[in-house]
Symmetry: C2
Subunit: 582 residues, 2 copies
């Protein structure tokens, strides 16, 4: 061992001890005849002292140390005259009497500090240096802890972690697969799993009863911000359960994580139907850290001669508490915000509730104070509040716009504190989603999701109205997990495939092995999957999942540090019987 202690370990209790430390030079300071070096490792920072009068040669060597040099030093623990209460070792320093430079370092291209001067690109290229920063490493320590606590909880609940294969079979349905050419089966390909969905269902057929896996999944999508071609799921499945059992189990897991990692004791999570989430928040993953629910205003505002509202299919408002003082400039900025192409509203109407209770709106000329008071009552607005209203010819589209406005107002009013956690189950999702474009139904979750038993008759008469036994866990407006009770009855599964437009042949080709397995006694089962990357970034208070991934890829799917993907040898292509046709 190159050290007797870590750089985060020594305290006043160690005074006088002879110790050996190893680590990286964070910085050096020369003050009079003394040279101070901050030595860093994963565990902390310890101040080293070199005294020119005691050992001139050693002190001179210390003066020539560069940033990020790797040192091994021997010395004595001494009390500092000027203590530093910002670091755990701030009461002590090491009087060094021996120093070995284990390795030199070129000057890093950016500073290794919590706040660095390195831009995203250079940080990614030198990710191994970026990972030296405490703030980045802390995210990965958190990730380790969360994964470990997940395992501890699930193990205690009788779950078995089973590794499912990575080299599987391509299925054209859903997102695009990454494929892997097979050399031993020429002209054929494996696919990398988008999720272990079918395998976990097979494990239920096998009687594994309670399965989980923390597992890499892969999707060859055009990458938006916060998407990675490879990502990690906490994948879970249980047998002989109903929706309530799954919800209880995994609410328990989340509470366990909040308790052990964050020291937060959470109440039972509220539940909201998908229908209410869309109606009141315009989103299936509402941020419930703050209220500001939508109020539909068709009855109040329609038919008063304001053509925009009179023609609208939907008029909805939110009440921003205490925001009546918003200036014209701020309100214009909000209007610009909702008119951005990503959001797409045509305009925004506002109304202020004055101190005396009167309402002043941007459409005053169309509405009497009486109607505006009806508006105020509908919005439950008080003096000092600001009412913001959007309208449009498509209710769902307008709700989504209003959702963006609501989130923006929540941010502006400081209602979205990252240290405040609001957890929620969204339940009763529709089973199907209608595609106007393709004029057909798609499965909202996946084709194995079970309809609610009481809605099964609707499959024949009104499929769009069928609700699923599906549920999402939403925290602070982020969908961290979701799942469903699965179909375990072959007849019902066949019906689902039919409704989804699968021919029997296509269903057989893609899911034949699963359907076959179901012939041999499939138990009732259900489960869910969490996105670990998102879960960790939520706990870490990060805006992007990237900084809780050790070696992430950029938006073009490239790892710029190792320069992958890259060309491969012709010989290798030949072995795989492949030609590139650019």
């Amino acid at each position: 061992m190159f050290r007797s202690h870590t750089c985060g370990e020594l305290r006043l209790a160690n005074l006088g001890e002879n110790v050996t430390l190893a680590g990286w030079v964070q910085r050096t300071r020369k003050m009079g005849g003394m040279t101070f070096v901050d030595l860093r490792d994963r565990y902390g920072l310890t101040q080293l002292v070199f005294n020119n009068e005691v050992n001139a040669e050693l002190c001179e060597r210390a003066n020539h140390l560069g940033r990020e040099y790797v040192l091994q030093v021997r010395g004595t623990v001494a009390e500092r005259s000027a203590k530093n209460n910002k670091v755990a070792t701030g009461d002590i320093e090491i009087i060094v009497n021996e120093m070995t430079v284990l390795n030199v370092s070129a000057t890093p291209p950016f500073t290794i500090e919590d706040e660095t001067d390195g831009g995203d690109d250079i940080r990614m290229q030198y990710r191994y240096l970026d990972l030296r920063r405490n703030s980045v490493r802390a995210n990965l320590e958190l990730r380790h802890k969360m994964a470990f606590e997940v395992r501890r909880y699930l193990d205690a609940e009788g779950f078995i972690e089973v590794e499912t294969p990575v080299l599987i079979k391509s299925t054209p349905e859903g997102a695009r697969d990454f494929v892997v050419p097979s050399r031993m089966n020429q002209g054929q390909f494996y696919a990398l799993p988008q999720s272990p969905q079918t395998f976990k269902q097979l494990l239920m057929v096998s009687g594994f009863d309670r399965y989980f896996q923390i597992v890499k999944c892969f999707r060859d999508e055009d990458l938006r911000a916060d998407r990675q071609p490879e990502f990690t799921q906490i994948d879970c499945e249980m047998s002989f359960v109903e929706q309530e059992d799954v919800i209880q189990m995994f609410e328990g897991m989340s509470r366990h994580l909040f308790r052990t990692i964050k020291g937060i004791e959470l109440d039972a999570f509220p539940r909201m139907t998908w229908h209410d989430a869309m109606k009141y928040y315009g989103s299936d993953k509402p941020d419930t850290r703050f209220e500001m629910r939508f109020v539909e205003l068709m009855d109040v505002l329609k038919g008063h001669g304001f053509s925009v509202f009179d023609a609208a299919e939907y008029i909805g408002g939110i009440c921003a508490k205490g925001a009546a003082s918003y200036t014209r400039k701020q309100l214009d900025a909000l209007t610009d915000f909702v008119k951005r192409p990503q959001i797409g509203a045509k305009g925004m109407v506002y109304a202020r509730v004055e101190a005396d209770g009167t309402v002043k709106s941007s459409v005053d000329k169309f509405y009497t104070q009486e109607v505006l008071q009806q508006l105020r009552a509908a919005m439950n607005a008080e003096p000092g509040d600001l009412i913001l209203i959007l309208s449009g010819d498509n209710a769902n589209k307008t709700r989504k716009q209003l959702c963006e406005l609501r989130l923006e107002m929540g941010s502006q009013l400081g209602l979205r504190d990252k240290n405040n956690y609001s957890c929620l189950w969204v339940v009763d999702f529709p089973l199907f989603e209608w595609s106007e474009e393709d004029q057909r139904f798609y499965a909202m979750h996946h084709p194995f999701t079970s309809p609610k038993p009481e809605d099964i008759p609707l499959l024949d008469t009104d499929p769009g109205a069928v609700r699923a036994n599906a549920y999402d866990m939403v925290i602070n407006g982020v969908e961290v997990g979701g799942g469903s009770i699965r179909i375990y009855d072959s007849e019902l599964q066949h019906k689902m495939f039919q409704l989804l437009g699968f021919t029997p042949e296509k269903a057989e080709e893609q899911f034949g092995f699963l359907m076959n397995a179901f012939k041999f006694g499939a138990p009732p089962h259900g489960g869910l999957a969490y996105g670990l990357d998102r879960f960790v970034s939520l706990f870490a208070g990060l805006d992007s999942i990237r900084d809780c991934i050790a070696f992430p890829k950029n938006n073009a799917g490239r790892d710029v540090m190792i320069d992958a993907p890259s060309a491969i040898d012709d010989a290798q292509l030949k072995e795989l019987c492949l030609n590139i046709t650019l």
Copy 2:
């Protein structure tokens, strides 16, 4: 929840309770007016009773249950008149008063019993049914437990589990990579990792200090028995350590596993140099459950007119205790064994030590009793022992043959009990391996392995004699793990590449990012990796790793259950700019 208890839970203490169970029909027996059904789940087996006199309709339904039907039953816990002490629930049975068939089952293609009538092929095709067998599921439960205990131990020792990427860069050196065509970077490929070696070294450069990961790795090799294209490693690395630190840490981990999983308290693991392992066992992974060490017999047996020995470059023997009673037939079978092409010996000489101490050998006509007594003394053989001797013109080749013979004798004499564990560190591996074919050195482990400091001068004069700071953990003749101290000095690394025949350009192209990282202050570091599949199969007493993998592939790299790999759509090939050229 479909059940109040599992099928392994109820005892006499539960007598009279009304319970609900769910599970699979293991079998049904009709005896007089009673029908007995064994209901199975992951946790056990419970006997259900249906009485024709009490409820004829229900009993009739029970009579029509098929194997593997999925049931939910309600009933009362009663004491059995004929107890069964072979199952944990054998004292009780359930008097059923309500039964729901949750799912029917087709007749399984093989019996779901510990000893099944299903052959390998059909078991793999219906793996989800094979996994219902207790013996197979127990292996996966063991795997879960071992992985969990590994994590518990390493977490307690301050290791952080970090997920390294799966989509990385192809390196032509070493085994063949699986590659993944990139759609967003056309004509380029990712590779799947053969191990996270370079990433874990980067994490050490990043100051992570103690890293581990239980991780899938991939090798596109022609599959022999006991090789899988995807396999799982326990991958570990530590900074500021020397070989002894790594050995202590991971010996501790193995002892922790034996203690917590097997209830076995192991002594400190002995160490053996690679040189001794080869000399005394003809293998770098000797099975030390039994002695039977090689004795070199050149001095004793050469020069007595037996032309085979007189021409040999190596003559070695083993002493099989108490095997003098081997018949001529048995000895002939052993001779046939060593002459098999996979072993390739030309013949075998034997010598028995009779009760009176005289030695009778198969080459008596060439040797006097005096020489044979010298042989006996050299072999330390006693009356009743059997001496087996091989010779050849290549010492290492002959030792490998003798190794096979030794293992075979160990098996025949019952010295290789699967419940007896003999652990060993093999140390002081050579740094290089000379390839006669290519007339060059190869790295025995990999190019990052550090030579022993005292052997560094030999790099210039006698590279073949340089020993590495490398170590393997061997249990019962199986290499379960191995690793090394790494080079952290750029100069030394360049020298290694040079000795291994890399041009500076080639080294830069393949390992440039690692070499670059090393410029910024690499700490001394080292680690090792375990093969989890092998480790589990050793604990499970399995001959093949296949039965501790949930969904293994066959020797052609195929998953016969899901039928992968398979053809993919032309559209998908087109998107990837690929043509198949069969």
